[in-house]
Symmetry: C2
Subunit: 155 residues, 2 copies
């Protein structure tokens, strides 16, 4: 009776197994970012990868579950290094669109390609398994972004 919870926890529920797998993969991917491109920081890599098309900073903040000031700092660094340019959003002149330069596109292609390789090596999954994992991961991501940022209750 008293052990029902501890036992279940001790034997690691599927949820905890899933979480630990996610953490291991996340940490491994972060670690391997270090070995690729020396002049890009981790948040800069994240942002580049997200910029498959011009996006508003607020969209990126929501996407990365981050706050505006963090996005500003990362965008500043990428802009100064020539990877992207800020353009006013014509439909709302308060907002900026972050647009990759040619240099930025090149860096992004390299990163995305390298990340794909890394995923293969780190995960050890074959093509079918990768496809299945990607399907579930996409579903999860949709759900996170849908439920994320409750706007009102920021702690």
């Amino acid at each position: 009776m008293s052990d029902s919870i501890s036992d279940r926890l001790g034997r690691l529920s599927p949820e905890i197994q899933a979480i630990m797998g996610v953490y291991a993969l996340y940490w491994k991917l972060e670690e391997t970012f270090d070995t690729i491109e020396t002049d890009l920081s981790h948040p800069e890599c994240h942002m580049l990868i997200k910029l498959d098309e011009p996006k508003r900073m607020g969209v990126l903040a929501a996407d990365m579950l981050s706050v505006p000031s963090t996005i500003t700092a990362t965008a500043d660094a990428l802009e100064q290094a020539g990877y992207l340019a800020r353009q006013r959003d014509p439909s709302d002149r308060r907002a900026w669109l972050l647009v990759l330069t040619e240099q930025g596109k090149g860096a992004r292609d390299m990163l995305v390609s390298a990340a794909g390789d890394l995923f293969h090596k780190a995960s050890g999954l074959n093509a079918d398994e990768t496809a299945e994992f990607a399907r579930m991961a996409s579903k999860i991501r949709d759900n996170v972004l849908k439920t994320g940022i409750p706007e009102g209750l920021k702690k």
Copy 2:
């Protein structure tokens, strides 16, 4: 020809979909740690969850793809707050075993339970899907830990 790479990248390969899903879930889980227990930092939560049984600090470092000094800092904080105790490893007196106190076990059970709930809410997966995702995540984790820390080539 020239578009084959860009096209594939633009349409987001399964690997990138998988990575983005993993990042979204990781960030969401981190975010929700903030809403649970106020007197534990993120790395402290990670360490508590890992301590399902007494472990050496080096094992934790390998497990968290981290370095010894980081583990020391986190263990110091948890020890000082009464969540764990250091015991010399009888089989190697250079090493410490980190052992949860009763308070630590209680906190861990709470965290693990909360993390399970969070996974459900954040992922939106049902029980079957969760089991399948957990299976793949475990496989990935095994592979990461197997291939991780190449010892020699630290960058």
